[in-house]
Structure formats: C-alpha cells, structure tokens
Symmetry: D2
Subunit: 155 residues, 4 copies
C-alpha cells in the first residue's frame, strides 16, 4: 500500500500532559496514537456493513521519539494501514508538532483481529481488506499528483 | 458516624504522575481517591447479598490540597462514609504522604445511588446503610479502644 | 464580578479517557479544568508586565458532575474568576458537551498566590486584580450588550 | 549480558486505569515501564559518583501485549539493560500479572545519553557501563544458582 496517511486528527496539547522534564510524557503518545487508530477504525466501520464482526486487539505498539513536544502546541496524528498479515495488520503513525513544524514521533501498531463469537484470532475478512485498501488508495491518489498536473504551466 | 477511616489502601507514587511543576498533578488525586472509593465499595459489596442492586454515581468531588506530593513516595489513601442522604452518601478521604509523614490532601465525594433497572436515583437501601454503619463502627471501635476493652478476657 | 466566562477552550474527547463505565473518567475533568485555568493565566499574564511575580497554587478543587461525557464528543471548558480573597481567588468552570448541547459539569478552584522569592502566600497584587477585572468586564459586556450600547457612537 | 532482571517494582492496578474495553489501557504500560526504568536509573545512580553527568532520553519504546490486565491485580515490572550501543543502551521489560501468574507484556526501550552541558548525544561512559554490568551480573548470579548450592545442607 501507499505512502499517504488517509486518517488525520488534531489534538491540543494539554499543560498537564507534560511531566517533570517539561516535555509531554511518553505514555501520552500511545494515547494520541490510539485516538488516531480509533478514528481510522471509525472510517472503515462506517462502510463495513458486509464485513463479519471483528474486534481489533493491540498486539504490539512502537513509538519512535524524534523530538520533544511541549505545551502550548497542537499535534497532528496521522494513521495508515501499511501491511496485511493473515490475522493482523500493521498501522503506521506520524505525529507532527504544529508549533515546531516538524515530525515529533512516528509509531507502529500490530493489530490482531478477534472473532467476537469465539474470542480467537480470525483471518482478515476480504471485505475489510478491500475497505482498507480503498481508504488507503484515496490517500495515495490525493498525494500522488501527476507531474503534469503538479507543475503550474505558465503561458 | 465516627472519625475513623475503615478502608485504607497504599499506592506507590509514580515518577510520571508528576507534572512540569515537579509535583504530582492534581488530577491524579481524583484517581487515587477513586481507588479508595472502589476499595470501600468492595468491602461493602462483599457482604451485600441481601441488598437490592445499586449503581454508585459520583455526583460531586472535592480535593483540598494540603502539601505537594513528589516522587519517590508512597501514599496512604483512606476512605470513610460520613453522612447518609436520602439517595446519596458522603465519603471522606484522607491522603497521607509516607515520605513526609503528613496529610497531603483531604477530599470529599457525594455518591448518588442509581437503580440499575430504571437508571433513576434510588433511596439508600436500609440493608446497605446497615452494612456501611457496621464497617464504620469497626473503624471507630478499632481506633477508640479503651485500655480495658483491648485486653481480651478469657473466663 | 460578572456572570460571563471570558476564557474558553475546546478539547476533543479521546476514546482512552473513558473508563470501564464507558464514561470519561472523573479524574479527566480536573485535567480539562486545569487546561482552562492555564489558558486563563496566560491571558492575564500577557498583560501583566507591571505585576510583581506570583506563582498560582491550587488549594482546592471541586467538580459537580451533571451528566456523563462519552467519546466521541468535543467539550468546551470555560473559566472565570468570580471572587477575590486576600491571598487567593476563586475560579469557576463550566464544561459543556457539544454532542449533548448541555452542561456536563461545573467546577470551582481556589487558587492561592505564592511569592516566588519567599514561597509564602502573598496578598493579591492590585495590578493583578485590575487585569482580572478588566478581562472579566470584557466577558460581561460581551454578553450583556444592549443593542444601543453595542454601537459605538462618535460625536 | 544476562537473562535476569536486576530491578523489579510492584504496582497496584488501579480501577481507573481500565478503559472502555475493561482492560488496563495500553498507554498505562508505558507509564509502568517508565517507573521500572527510573527505578533502574536510581540503582545505577546511587553508585555513580565517578560518572560524568548524563541525561537519559527515551528514543524508542516498544510494548508487546501478551494478555490483558484487569483490576484488581498487582503487576510486577522488571527491567534489565541488555545491550550497549555507542551513545545508547537497550532496556528490556517484563510485566507480570500476579493475579494471572503470567507474563502480561514485554517491552523494550532504547535510551540515548545526552551530555547536559551540550545537549548532544554522548558516548556511554565506561564507568557507567561498568556499574550497569555489575548490577546485571548480580541479577544473573542470583538467578543461575547451581543445584548443589540451592539445596541447604543440614549437618
């Protein structure tokens, strides 16, 4: 799948999210990533009428801290599904500090699907993969502007 | 009811609970009080076989901050029900810093009971009041022991 | 002072702020109130060039929970200083759920001023009171505008 | 270095740490790991009189979720430094649920050292590496007891 991030949320940094180092505490990043992950699920679920019920479980989370975030700031958190496994998929996050105009963190999550009727891992439903691919495709095409279009022509 | 605190928990202060002022952030106190409140409910519920089902709802919470708490420390959080209303009761908290050997905060909660079948306020069941009074009575007698009473006499 | 709230912030409710009761956890309200309190201080401090240095300390916090907040939602948190004491002032909060179109909580904080050079309570500087009164006055007049008064007349 | 975990803390799970899925929220794991990391630093720092000043910065954090943790429970969080880099080291965590008698999560952190005078990365001081190796060595020997030594001999 592509390079874009089809889902994006904005969150105001709260003063109380900083710890004694005067930086937003590292645990807050997982909270922020979670908010983007859930926004992603909501976008998929809105069209998932034909997908058999599934429960997403966080199996692995990684945060790469690039630069500290401090109050006041607003962060943009973007999410994208990058890879399908048999019973899981991998989500990528990008966290941008608007005050710094720079990426402050990146992250990854491995999400496993459980069948709610058995509480066991289930293979990714094809219909779900199609919905995700469609969402990701929109992100890709929004970012992959054809050279000819991108170059403004001057008479 | 009495002056004692029949329920007491101990919690280790975590470094990450401190904010940019190098003190435990004020919001954490509500978390700690909640933990004591739930420990209280558990003690009551353990004997509440004859009490009609009730759901406790926090209607009002107050914290009086006496002195800042910093890491490392362990706090003792005590809870006591001080007053019965018609559909509510008032719980009192005391938070002690073990490192400072001093009360760091006091607090109060007004807890309203909901009837789970109607989601409306319900009068305090007499059986519940009796269980609370008993728990509080134990706390009182445990703290106001007269010398003569403390010595168990054997015939 | 008036009835209005001169400072207002908006915060997105995050899914992870809900607890096992499927409501935003009560401790989060103190975090939200803190964010409004600090926004208030920032507005005052921006004009406080002539005020002797002061450190605000939270001495007492109260939350009145009116109705539960759930994800997804955005809350508006408003703050106003309602009363001056000798070494403290009282701040009032109002928390509105945009999804419910209703006040979800109200709150109060007693803030004590410390002199940073002595770490002792200090009397409220008159210049600070004037800045607060001015900020509150703007809120009042912004809300109690009579049609005729709103139009500035030029001789 | 070895397989043992020289530093171990115990933390009570708090009810309010659970989210709407009735499990402890994933962000809490980074808080818990942080508490173990800081306990580790404290043990090293207690003997680090000859080590040039260093500031540890979290560059990367990973959590592998093995099984959900629920209230009530007490978790054991263990930390160990597994690998030295040039300007960083890698810490490993193990989180055990006492109620379940099972590992609930594992984790890893890459910690970079900053020179506080320049705010730039610094090579790991040899004296620091020696202190860590000593701490890790104690853990190893404490866990690799030879059968013959483990059995207390009675005259």
């Amino acid at each position: 799948m592509g390079e874009g991030f089809p889902v994006r949320i904005e969150l105001k940094v709260q003063w109380g999210e900083m710890d004694a180092f005067h930086h937003v505490n590292n645990a807050t990043y997982l909270r922020w990533f979670e908010s983007a992950r859930i926004a992603y699920f909501e976008q998929v679920a809105a069209n998932a009428h034909d997908v058999s019920p599934w429960v997403p479980i966080l199996a692995r989370a990684t945060v790469d801290f690039r630069r500290p975030v401090t109050y006041p700031d607003t962060v943009t958190v973007e999410a994208s599904v990058r890879k399908f496994g048999t019973t899981s998929f991998t989500m990528q996050y990008r966290l941008t500090s608007q005050a710094q105009g720079a990426v402050a963190a990146e992250g990854e999550a491995v999400v496993v699907l459980l069948d709610p009727s058995t509480s066991r891992k289930m293979p990714l439903p094809e219909a779900l993969k199609a919905l995700i691919a469609k969402l990701e495709g929109h992100a890709r095409s929004a970012q992959r502007v054809h050279p000819g279009e991108a170059r403004p022509t001057r008479g």
